[in-house]
Symmetry: C2
Subunit: 255 residues, 2 copies
Amino acid sequence: MPRYKLTIAYDGTDFHGWQKQSTPDREPPRTVQQEVEAVIRDVMREPIFLQGASRTDAGVHALGQVAAFTSERTLAPRRLRLAVNSRLPGDVQVRGAQYIRRDFEPISDAVGKHYRYTIAHGLADGAVPAPLFDRNQVMHMASCLDVNAMQHAAKHIIGRRDFASFTRTNHGKDSTVRTVTDCTVTASNPHRLRIDVHGGGFLYNMVRIIAGTLTEVGRGKITPADVPAILKACDRSAAGPTLPPQGLCLMRIRY
Amino acid sequence: MPRYKLTIAYDGTDFHGWQKQSTPDREPPRTVQQEVEAVIRDVMREPIFLQGASRTDAGVHALGQVAAFTSERTLAPRRLRLAVNSRLPGDVQVRGAQYIRRDFEPISDAVGKHYRYTIAHGLADGAVPAPLFDRNQVMHMASCLDVNAMQHAAKHIIGRRDFASFTRTNHGKDSTVRTVTDCTVTASNPHRLRIDVHGGGFLYNMVRIIAGTLTEVGRGKITPADVPAILKACDRSAAGPTLPPQGLCLMRIRY
């Protein structure tokens, strides 16, 4: 029984996230897992279970989601990819397919993830037009952000730390210690920036709260030197807001 | 009574084109003119008529549509723009506003227009991913196009010519003679190209049929040297297909 590893990209705008949801009394919401799984079942002509590496939330995008399934059938990965893509709607696509070892587990075998949060800022006075065609792929912010201050603050995020301040209060995880291997803030132009966070694993909403805290620095509400105390507090209320999902994209998962 | 000139940008995906439509028996379809007009009425607190320069079709985008209206009220153009933008939905925005002379007519005063048609090509083998986030802003084509041949063919389009082959048969216009001042084909990358057409005025579907004819050249169905005969035929069936609306964007109107 061959096992297949897929790299999946999607525009999360019209999806209720990755994870399939069972709703006994009504039509289940549209999710990436359910759509891709249904198409693969159709192509392979047998029920399969598609295990994803990351449960992205509603509205969150992915260029490098990873998922795996095992099938009775053998189908060359390139043909599988073409067959699945020809049946998928325009907002989700399989970008890579390969055979993988039988015991491959997308979640537990992942050694690193890269998320990107994109912000259009300084839109208040209307001199710079708000995002139009990519309005669902960036967060819009009226204030003008101080990128330099954000870059300094980002350095404090890097390391093996207790990120309890950077997840929702009832996170349901035993440990809130995680390792962020890199965190950078890059200005694509004077009104557009991206926050790239690389790490071994992430808590629920962690990247969106990191982005929210860095934007508090960018707006001058707090200083880069405040970030260590926010981490030390281990208290969600110490950190900045959870930024909205549409600015977030799962870029890549390393194995 | 001041008159205002607006530059309007929109993502045409969810609009039934620019032009307001009256449908006595049912809800009128969503159009750009109707949405912007309703917001301006709200801001100016009086009925206004918004005259647009170009009746873009359903699905066609604009970065530089121009429209004008006259109002009893005087409102600084910058304040007008901010007030209107704060009320408009995310897929349409006023990018510029200014006072204009009382007799300004957006249609008849236009001296030139620039349209761009964008194509993602060579997608057949799946090696290059299909457009995802901008899938509604480009035309997708399985074949790989010969950009060089298209560039040669584009040169034959330039000039003052009878474009009867490049509009629908019942075009309802007295004359089909128009002037194309420039027509270029540019490869942004090996799988993405744009066709830029500049001219004094355009017939219905003219840019989409020019793009369709150039892609026939790109696919090797016809040669650049066939274009003069297509023009000379003055027969719609001589030219290539009308490409779909989503690849088309009204970039700029000159006055």
